[in-house]
């Protein structure tokens, strides 16, 4: 019926061309392209400053920011970084714990979600700055208020992710656990948590990044230290490079937190392929 000429095509033994290319791409792309794009970005920035002839108070050049960084690093920069890190750490700890617990409950009980959602949504859509006086009266103007704002902001993404995760648990596995008479705790630790992990880790990526924003917003309400304070200080003392150094420290912290989640992901989801 069909004429077959067997020499037309033949799979060559491994390493075949396609897999080899894939191996290259997955191995070198990331390790080579990442620094390359970074260099490209900085070059673009330097060129932009040059081209538009922006004065430093609008957009300082990379070199200027770098010099500023060196001089600040020799000074109090790390103190401010430390303060912001503390706010982030405490805020994340509180926000994420609340998100897990509540997310789990709301994930299991849809009617609870319908009751609680309006208040959670409200808490997320009220601009912090608009109720700053209340926050100061209730929580003072110290660490507590900054941690609270950070916790509030980090809470939501992980909450929603946990809800979605808990709901996506395979009902067949739920039946299995029920047939084994797993306790609520076991149901959670041995089934729901691992099954929801891909989603929860997605939520953590958001929360980790937003934690930085939370700390800064908290510090913007009034602070005496921290990177948000540095930004304001930079505005106050007319030092735009200082603002940029603070921004870069914030970005670095966000990167580090995000990377931490990526590593967690690589470790916890290695079974996913």
């Amino acid at each position: 019926m069909f004429e077959v000429s067997k020499d037309e095509i033949r799979y060559r033994p491994r390493p075949s061309p396609l897999p080899a290319w894939r191996a290259w791409s997955s191995r070198y792309h990331t390790y080579l392209l990442a620094p390359l794009t970074l260099i490209g970005m900085v070059a673009l920035w330097a060129w932009l400053v040059e081209w538009r002839a922006y004065p430093p108070f609008i957009l300082p050049s990379p070199a200027l920011v770098w010099r500023k960084f060196l001089s600040m690093a020799a000074g109090s920069l790390w103190l401010h970084v430390g303060v912001t890190l503390l706010e982030i750490a405490l805020g994340l700890a509180i926000g994420l714990s609340a998100a897990f617990v509540l997310g789990y409950l709301l994930g299991k009980h849809r009617s609870l979600e319908r009751i609680a959602a309006p208040y959670i949504v409200a808490s997320q859509s009220i601009p912090v700055v608009a109720i700053a006086p209340l926050i100061v009266i209730w929580m003072g103007s110290g660490l507590v208020s900054k941690v609270a704002v950070t916790a509030l902001i980090t809470f939501f993404p992980t909450l929603v992710a946990t809800i979605v995760g808990v709901r996506s648990v395979d009902p067949d596995l739920r039946d299995l656990m029920r047939s084994l008479r797993a306790t609520r705790g076991q149901m959670f630790w041995k089934l729901e948590l691992p099954a929801a992990l891909p989603m929860i880790l997605g939520g953590l990526k958001l929360s980790a990044t937003l934690a930085v924003v939370g700390a800064v917003v908290g510090e913007f309400m009034g602070a005496t230290a921290g990177l948000g304070y540095l930004i304001n200080l930079g505005r106050g003392v007319l030092d735009t490079p200082m603002i940029f150094v603070a921004i870069f420290m914030l970005v670095l912290i966000a990167q580090a937190l995000y990377l931490a989640v990526l590593l967690l992901e690589a470790r916890l989801l290695h079974w996913q392929r």
């Binding site: 700053a132 100061v136 009034g222 304070y229 200080l233 003392v237």
Partner: protein
């Protein structure tokens, strides 16, 4: 307004001294040099006051002083008028800035030197409220202009950049801010100052009725200490600047020139006007301010000018 919060809630007695929190402006700055001088020279301590500076938004502090959460803050006269109009029991007890510090500035090449030159121009402004709006309307009024005669653009706190990159013809800003930045960048700048056309009591010490009624001694001490601090700063500007740099080291180094410029510009705002009793304000000025603010719609009803301030704590040297 009913205020049932505990008396001087945040004041504690330490070693016979009283801790008093002062709500200052947004951020540590050489513009607060007199306060730093007072702390460094012990003017506050000598009054038995352990001063604790707190940085935040002026309008937030006005409310916090209004509920006696804070007892003192630094604020400008127009804010006190606003506060009173909204029922905040706040009162202005000491004048510090003798001239209103807000100006409309533009690149010199635009030739905007008088209020009348603003007609038809695009003016950048943070928003239709606050000190900048007061200044804008005051200056426009001086040339019989209204908001309809200019194009306003709400640019937030980006005045220097907006003027520098020609997004606007002129912008409303503190005299020690945008104009200084541009000059330092080598751009010649023209300014139109509100104070040349309308006198509005500017920044000073604000407290609340309750503190005046129950702790006049404390108010007296605060006023005295702050007055001494201002006077010392005016008398010894170099030393004062050096003290400020110790508190705000970030203003030093490569920023010193800029901040010295800011400081020097500020000095002129702190210097008493000819014939003025240092620290005192005029009832007539307050009345004019109330009328003006009513005119431009920032307040609905007249406020009793007498209730806005008191000169009773001013001590003449």
């Amino acid at each position: 307004a009913p205020i049932s919060t505990p008396r001087i809630s945040n004041a504690t007695q330490t070693f016979g001294r009283e801790t008093v929190r002062l709500g200052a402006g947004f951020i540590p700055n050489v513009q607060f040099a007199p306060i730093y001088v007072g702390l460094e020279k012990g003017f506050f301590q000598e009054e038995g006051i352990e001063l604790e500076l707190s940085y935040g938004f002026e309008n937030d502090y006005l409310k916090l002083v209004g509920v006696d959460e804070y007892q003192f803050m630094l604020g400008s006269g127009d804010q006190v008028v606003l506060g009173r109009a909204q029922g905040l029991p706040v009162r202005y007890v000491l004048n510090w800035y003798t001239r209103f510090p807000v100006v409309i500035f533009s690149k010199a090449e635009r030739n905007i030197t008088t209020p009348a030159d603003l007609a038809g121009k695009t003016i950048g402004i943070p928003g239709a409220f606050g000190a900048s709006y007061v200044a804008l309307r005051g200056i426009l009024e001086a040339a019989n202009l209204t908001e309809q005669d200019v194009r306003l653009e709400s640019i937030g706190f980006t005045q220097a950049a907006a003027v520098s990159e020609d997004r606007v013809d002129a912008a409303v800003d503190y005299a020690v801010n945008g104009p200084v930045v541009l000059r330092l960048a080598g751009v010649p700048v023209n300014e139109i100052a509100l104070d040349d056309y309308l006198v509005i009591p500017s920044n000073g010490l604000v407290t609340n009725e309750r503190t005046i009624a129950e702790r006049p001694d404390l108010v007296q001490k605060m006023v005295r200490a702050l007055q001494r601090s201002i006077a010392y700063t005016l008398a010894n500007p170099d030393e004062a600047f050096a003290i400020a740099l110790k508190v705000v080291p970030e203003a030093g180094g490569e920023n010193e020139a800029a901040n010295r410029a800011v400081f020097d510009a500020s000095l002129s705002f702190w210097t008493p006007k000819p014939g003025q009793t240092p620290g005192a304000t005029d009832l007539a000025d307050w009345q004019a301010t109330v009328e003006f603010m009513q005119r431009i719609g920032l307040i609905d009803a007249a406020v009793d000018a007498e209730s806005l301030f008191t000169n009773q704590f001013i001590t003449e040297e």
